[in-house]
């Protein structure tokens, strides 16, 4: 039905285009083939003007139907069968409406009288809605086309009008970026507020025990419901530190070697190889960590007499470090290349070796850029999901031992939201609270990184 409606609107718009174009050509002709007035724009623009004025109102009606029909139909149906339908408890209501919809669309059958009655009403309402929407769309298109056609005249600046519409559309799509950020912040804050209504923020941010079991029934055993997130933050921090300990030395030394010591042939091989490290999907890294790195670490540890968990923080941290190497390497490369040649040449001129120049002149000069790069890499490590979901543990464990299993913020978010808890419970809402913390932390790191680079960067020449 919707595709038919869109087709109808498109046909009307096409007809409008043809009419508008013909109209301006006709009025520009006037008498017996002699030009009366020269149109302001090319004829096609007049066609587009009428097409837009007829297509956009119809489209708006159709989109309104698509967006609002579902909840409106639900509400009107429930309003009509008030006596029989389950009332309070949004979950029960949602289930009831689900049954009603399944029966109405012929996907399932039901023996419940209330459901059948509601389904009949739903179908009737929907049919009326479809007819009303089609009529409204048609009327809107025709009225729009008529109004536009009246404006079409040789002295009407159609091109300017069209370009104004296009420019506003372009501006709208760039405003979308702001809308997305606002959407993220708003949805996270909304759900987090619902969470903080059940659990106090202080208990969440500073509590030391994370065991998010909430009771499904009143008498359920094991529903301690402790929501202290400190072990999770500690786990995230530990894995990030291990990853940085791997990535920063290797990335920095790689960047330095490729800039100062490597031959062009070596660089042509090494640079694409490092970029390939960045292109491997993180789920592949996670599989590699879980299947190959963790057992190796485990057997190595047991050979040395240490007890290593099968999901040790070391395995996840090492692989995450490997994933971040190209990130740091390319950012450090940019920072080092930004240091002007004159400093390098001056140092050589004073008799320093290459390594002394790098250590005493180049790296200190490039340090703000490198530090900014490291902070950005930390932000990436904190937000990384798949490696830790597959290689790190699920139980919150407050420890400083990298051989034990810890859990991170992203693992908990995935575990809480892919389980089967009701959406209102504190358990699933805590996932949004963790998400907000994650978003705020990465945002803060990015802002600080940018600020450091801007403030401390030396302005040479």
């Amino acid at each position: 039905m919707t595709s038919l409606l869109f087709l109808l609107i498109a046909t009307l718009a096409l007809a409008g285009f043809a009419l508008g174009r013909r109209r301006v050509l006709a009025s520009a002709r006037g008498g017996i083939g002699e030009r009366v007035a020269r149109p302001h724009s090319l004829p096609g623009y007049y066609g587009w003007y009428v097409a837009l004025w007829s297509g956009l109102p119809g489209l708006a009606v159709a989109l309104a139907w698509l967006a609002f029909s579902s909840p409106t139909l639900d509400r009107l149906t429930l309003f009509g069968v008030m006596g029989d339908a389950p009332r309070r408890g949004s979950a029960e209501q949602a289930l009831f409406m689900n049954d009603v919809r399944n029966v109405a669309y012929g996907r399932a059958e039901s023996s419940d009288a209330a459901v059948l009655a509601a389904a009949r009403r739903f179908v009737a309402l929907r049919e009326r809605g479809v007819v009303a929407t089609t009529a409204a769309a048609l009327v809107a298109s025709l009225v729009g086309a008529a109004l536009a056609l009246r404006r079409v005249a040789p002295d009407f600046a159609a091109r300017v009008a069209i370009e104004g519409v296009v420019r506003r559309a372009l501006m709208g799509s760039s405003a979308l970026a702001v809308l997305v950020t606002a959407g993220i912040v708003f949805s996270l804050i909304f759900e987090t507020a619902r969470f903080f209504a059940k659990i106090s923020p202080v208990a969440f941010l500073f509590g030391l025990e994370w065991s998010p079991q909430t009771a499904i029934r009143a008498d359920q055993v094991g529903s301690s419901g402790a929501f202290g997130a400190v072990p999770i933050f500690a786990g995230t921090l530990m894995i990030t530190v291990i990853a940085m300990l791997v990535a920063v030395p290797i990335g920095l030394l790689s960047a330095i070697h490729m800039t100062f010591y490597a031959s062009p042939r070596f660089r042509n091989v090494a640079k694409p190889a490092l970029e390939m490290l960045a292109g491997v999907p993180t789920v592949v890294y996670g599989f590699f960590a879980a299947l190959m790195v963790a057992p190796v670490i485990r057997s190595a540890g047991e050979a040395m007499g240490l007890s290593v968990a099968s999901e040790s923080a070391l395995a996840a941290g090492l692989v995450m470090g490997v994933m971040i190497i190209p990130f740091i390497s390319s950012l450090a490369d940019d920072a080092i290349s930004a240091v002007p040649l004159s400093l390098r040449d001056g140092s050589y001129g004073l008799g320093a070796t290459r390594s002394e120049t790098i250590r005493h002149v180049i790296v200190p000069a490039a340090l703000p850029g490198i530090a900014g790069g490291v902070l950005l890499a930390v932000s990436r490590a904190i937000g990384e999901t798949m490696i830790v979901v597959m290689a790190a543990g699920l139980a919150a464990n407050l420890t400083a031992n990298p051989l034990e299993a810890v859990t991170t913020v992203t693992v908990q978010i995935v575990a809480l939201l892919t389980g089967d808890q009701e959406f209102d419970s504190a358990k699933t809402l805590s996932a949004f609270a963790l998400g907000l913390v994650l978003f705020a932390a990465t945002l803060l790191l990015n802002v600080v990184a940018l600020r450091i680079v801007q403030r401390y960067r030396e302005k040479y020449d």
Partner: protein, 422 residues
């Protein structure tokens, strides 16, 4: 002084070596990763089949006597295929006497063998009543044994295959009734709980549909935003805000976009879970900043002289963009889009958040069918306990990496072919 020089030269050499070692370590990690995945995964493309002589008598299949050719297609799905298959196996190995041995014998064959016999009958109904020799899929443990994955030295109680079963497998191989073929099922069938029947086609279709939705949304929006920010936006607070937002969004972890998709698309808008529509929209939000940044870079690369020449000939600002700047910037924009789509293909976390964790057997055909995506399928298989799924997961990773290599190669080829040096 000379001693100090020697020391300094030594330090120089150590530093240089350290740098080379660092690069070597990074490349070695990549090599270990790729080689270990390939080592495990290449065998996923071959599977084992057993040749059995199956008696397709109507009585053995449980079909009523005197069935006409018109009624046959309706009756075939309900027929009993395990009976004739079991009989065929027991005919080969009459020494399987007690119940446990007979169960072990029939466990050598995959559950999917029944469907293969049914399909053979549907294709050629004349086979009914004859005794045919068919190549049928073997169970995943047999496949593992043929690939050398079962350690025979280990005591029987710790093995997945008993001594009898291993003996039967050797006998089948000696008689030429065991063969290894290319595993077409891996690429053409949907997911399954049985490793030997599990395939990627459902995941590939789901990924394709999701990426189509993502592309259709992100390409027009991203290019429009890039054009506006580069050509028309006035310098001011609003423009700065938009730019800052785009740069921040590019650095937001992908799971946060999954949370946004969950909260807005699934809860507020009540769109169906785990469908390519919602997955594509969530991935579009995630890829949008990348496309905008790539688009801006491509548009910036077009020299101002082109714009000024067009204005000089009387074009309006919008005409300059649509007739001159965009066509010239298009190769760069397309390259950036292909690379962005490649990244979106490998993303798992946002899709997990919008519900694509379910076990989907059917292959999705419409944008509103429940679907899974290739990286999510890898994630799900990695969790499966059967050992044969390790091989399948590695094989799926090889397929994913293959697609990524293809897309990146296309992007590089595009850039090399159409890039202009101004």
């Amino acid at each position: 002084m000379r001693a100090r020089l020697v020391g300094r030269r030594a330090a120089e050499r150590r530093f240089r070596l350290a740098g080379a070692a660092a690069i070597g370590l990074a490349i070695a990690s990549l090599a270990v990763l790729l080689v270990s995945i390939a080592w495990n995964g290449l065998s996923a493309f071959r599977t084992t089949e057993i040749r059995l002589d199956v008696d397709l008598a109507p009585q053995a299949l449980g079909l009523p006597d005197g069935l006409s050719a018109a009624d046959l297609p309706a009756a075939l799905p309900g027929a009993d295929y395990r009976g004739p298959l079991r009989a065929a196996l027991e005919a080969l190995f009459p020494d399987a006497t007690d119940r446990r041995m007979r169960r072990d014998l029939s466990a050598l064959l995959s559950r999917g063998a029944s469907e293969d016999v049914q399909r053979a009958l549907e294709k050629n109904p004349a086979l009914l009543g004859r005794r045919v020799s068919l190549w049928l899929p073997a169970d995943d443990e047999v496949d593992l044994a043929r690939k050398g994955g079962i350690a025979r030295a280990v005591p029987e109680s710790e093995r997945r295959l008993s001594d009898d079963q291993l003996g039967w497998i050797d006998a089948l191989r000696a008689e030429g009734r065991l063969r290894s073929v290319f595993n077409w099922r891996f690429l053409t069938s949907g997911d399954s709980r049985e490793p030997e029947l599990a395939g990627l086609w459902g995941a590939l279709a789901g990924s394709f549909l999701t990426l189509v939705v993502c592309l259709v949304i992100v390409f027009p929006l991203g290019i429009s935003a890039a054009v506006y920010l580069e050509e028309f936006a006035p310098r001011g607070r609003w423009t700065d805000l938009i730019e800052v937002n785009i740069n921040n969004l590019a650095a937001v972890p992908s799971i946060v976009f999954g949370l946004l998709g969950l909260a807005v698309f699934l809860d507020v808008a009540s769109l169906p879970r785990s469908t390519p529509v919602v997955g594509g929209m969530t991935l579009a939000l995630m890829t949008l900043p990348t496309i905008i940044i790539a688009g801006r870079a491509a548009i910036q690369a077009v020299p101002p002289s082109i714009r000024e020449a067009a204005r000089g000939l009387g074009a309006s600002p919008l005409q300059v963009v649509t007739h001159h700047v965009l066509p010239l910037a298009l190769p760069g924009i397309l390259t950036g889009t292909i690379i962005g789509m490649g990244r979106a293909l490998g993303e798992t976390a946002p899709l997990l958040m919008i519900g694509m964790v379910a076990f989907i057997v059917d292959v999705p055909h419409r944008f509103t069918d429940a679907a899974t995506a290739l990286p999510v399928q890898i994630f799900l298989w990695a969790d499966s306990p059967e050992r044969a799924f390790v091989e399948k997961t590695s094989g799926a990773i090889l397929v994913l990496l293959g697609f990524l290599v293809l897309m990146n190669a296309a992007a590089i080829a595009l850039r090399r072919r159409f890039e202009r040096r101004w």
